[in-house]
Symmetry: C2
Subunit: 153 residues, 2 copies
Amino acid sequence: MRKSPASTAPKPSGLDCRLAVLGTDARLTPHRREVFQVLAESTDHPTAYDVFDRVKGRSPGISLATVYNCLEHLTGHGLIKLVQVERAQARYCANIQEHVHFHCESCGSVSDAHPIKPLDPTHFWNLPAGSTVSHTEVAIHGLCPACATKKSR
Amino acid sequence: MRKSPASTAPKPSGLDCRLAVLGTDARLTPHRREVFQVLAESTDHPTAYDVFDRVKGRSPGISLATVYNCLEHLTGHGLIKLVQVERAQARYCANIQEHVHFHCESCGSVSDAHPIKPLDPTHFWNLPAGSTVSHTEVAIHGLCPACATKKSR
DNA sequence: ATTAGAACAAGAATGATTCTAATTCAAATG
DNA sequence: CATTTGAATTAGAATCATTCTTGTTCTAAT
């Protein structure tokens, strides 16, 4: 089951401007758009299967394999990020601003934390001599506000 | 195939002092000792299967399931650390000093980087109000010295 | 209209990890 | 010394996320 992109694509929203970067070397298909929209509307860092579940409501015929394809495509084009805080399942988020992830060790939720000031890793750690840094990934583990108050009682 | 711990355990080494913490609430079985020793002698952050491969030389009868059990046990007691820099496979290291991981995006190797000064995450990121931090995990991605020189030519 | 290339679907395949059930052992007890 | 209890261990099955394969369908260009 497939639709024509021009006729059935959702109305452009503020987020769609980011999709414009796909213009030249990639195609913005309805499925990719739906997957991206679902992620853009989610703050809970859904897994691939979560995304599949949510996209199904809009594109009933979509398959899990296609969701994986779309996620990989969008990740490859820098429109979404892959997050891996726990052992097992990969999670995704559409927040491509500089940020780190806060992981609650009690309920397993993941939320974003935004930078106050930039961090230069070479000021804090002795990196191997001659290495080059492309990016730094930070995951802060602890208790989210809800779990912290629950535990303190 | 199992051995008596007292009779066939390897001679105590400097690292064994760390195993002493297991004393009260956990048993230091030969397998657990072997798994720990293999990790203590490795600087390349082996996967569970790598550990299995290396332990087999010393304990030929050991099973992969036992290696997983031992790794989980040692991780639970804070003797080793679980590292996850890439998508798929978990890696382990016996370095429990404060350190972060440097991941080469070209060859996939993982090495340790030690801190120059402590990092307080609350100075750098706006954490959710009311949350508590237990630890911060940092992974620095880039090119290791060998791959960096290879690429620059 | 034809062709080429990408997107897609379905299900198989892979691969890491966990679970299950049965066995073996160590230490404590009678 | 025999028994019991509980943990360690094993092999293999099961699970689960992810990737791969194959054939089909669509879009855009020719």
